[in-house]
Point group: C2
Chain length 209, copies 2
DNA sequence: AATCTCGGCAAACACTTGTTTACTGAATGG
DNA sequence: CCATTCAGTAAACAAGTGTTTGCCGAGATT
């Protein structure tokens, strides 16, 4: 009758969260490949054996973190694409959203940047499968914009990938900037805006060349 | 009288090379942070203690690898910038050179991609200090091109960074493509060319907007 | 109320780890 | 040719590792 899932399951979820959080915390200055089961359980306040009640592997924990991290990223992307408007406002809004996202999900973003080319194959694959899906989504959104009239499927895809790659680069750069120099952060954001403006300029003259 | 540096030093250099090569080999599917001294020396055919005759740290070995990797990258960049020509030929040449570079220095490129956001601070810093220097160098080269007449310092810098980031993204993508799908490699190269063309288009209309 | 499920624990397994030690023996230099 | 330098070694150190085992005791189920 209650909408809760049972105290049993709730406690299990709590432990699972503790493990994920502990992992995320430790991965702030470490690689997934160099993480240890004992290390994680110690940080989470559980016994080593408890880990195996939740994940078979550390790689599995990594994949779970990928899903989490990309869920929030997904929300972010949609919120940028949803609002229509002139190119300039869209650019400003996109950069603002990225900036805020990095600030509010620092751990997740760092995790993605670090493990995207990291040493654990399954995690790597999970990440760029999902980034590919992002590009597809961005591509569909671009297709709806009037500027894209007459663009081929391939052209749209390459533009979408350019945007996604640019977003990733910018996020990575912001990550390191935000925790040291606050002025550096503004400089990076400004650069990103200029770059997006240049791309948008190229876009307007595509095929008209 | 002989131009050799002495059998003594030569043997030491040989061991050092063995360590670097062993490290590079192991880092093909591992992170620097998860690498072990014993692991490296075992792979190199030396005793564990021998390692400390060459490096104080594994991080130091990492930094040495960064220097190696970026030396070859540096040569590559110069070879792209040296040849003048129309925008189209320049783009084709740039992509070709990147493609070849990734094929011929797979281990180095993978190392850079992996450790750029990896878990070892000193290595991370070494890498992006050097990438910053690249951007500066590219910026200077761009300034000499006629298309850049009237561009501010800041604009040149942001364009250079856009190019460098794009190069890094492309190289990373090629890395994974080359060792699986050969058709995928061509698709990535084609996409990169399109993206560079779009950027170059934006460049021509900058400030003329 | 009795039974079952199952998340968590402590302990034990057999290794692997980084680093220091005292040493050996070949190239070096006077 | 004798003394020195020094790259490389084997052995030992304490400390950490992943994973399995049997067990407990609190929810869940009947």
């Amino acid at each position: 009758m209650s909408h809760t899932v049972g105290a049993r399951q709730a406690q299990k979820q709590q432990s699972r969260r503790a493990l994920l959080d502990a992992g995320l915390r430790l991965l702030a200055d470490q690689n997934l490949a160099s993480l240890g089961v004992r290390e994680v359980t110690r940080e989470a306040g559980l016994s080593p054996a408890a880990f195996y009640r939740h994940f078979p592997d550390l790689a599995a924990l990594g994949v779970a973190l990928v899903e989490e991290s990309l869920a929030s990223l997904h929300v972010m992307i949609r919120s940028v694409l949803a609002e229509a408007g002139g190119a300039e406002e869209l650019i400003d809004r996109a950069v603002d959203v990225i900036e805020r996202h990095v600030r509010e999900h620092r751990a997740h973003v760092r995790f993605l940047a670090r493990e995207r080319h990291g040493g654990v194959r399954r995690v790597r694959e999970a990440i760029d499968a999902e980034l590919g899906r992002f590009a597809a989504e961005v591509g569909e959104a671009l297709a709806l914009q009037p500027v894209s009239r007459g663009w081929s499927e391939q052209d749209l895809r390459m533009l979408a990938e350019l945007y996604v790659d640019h977003m990733v680069s910018t996020a990575s750069a912001l990550l390191e900037a935000q925790e040291s120099d606050p002025a550096r952060e503004r400089r990076i954001a400004a650069t990103a805006r200029l770059q997006l403006r240049l791309i948008s300029l190229g876009r307007r003259h595509w095929q008209a060349s």
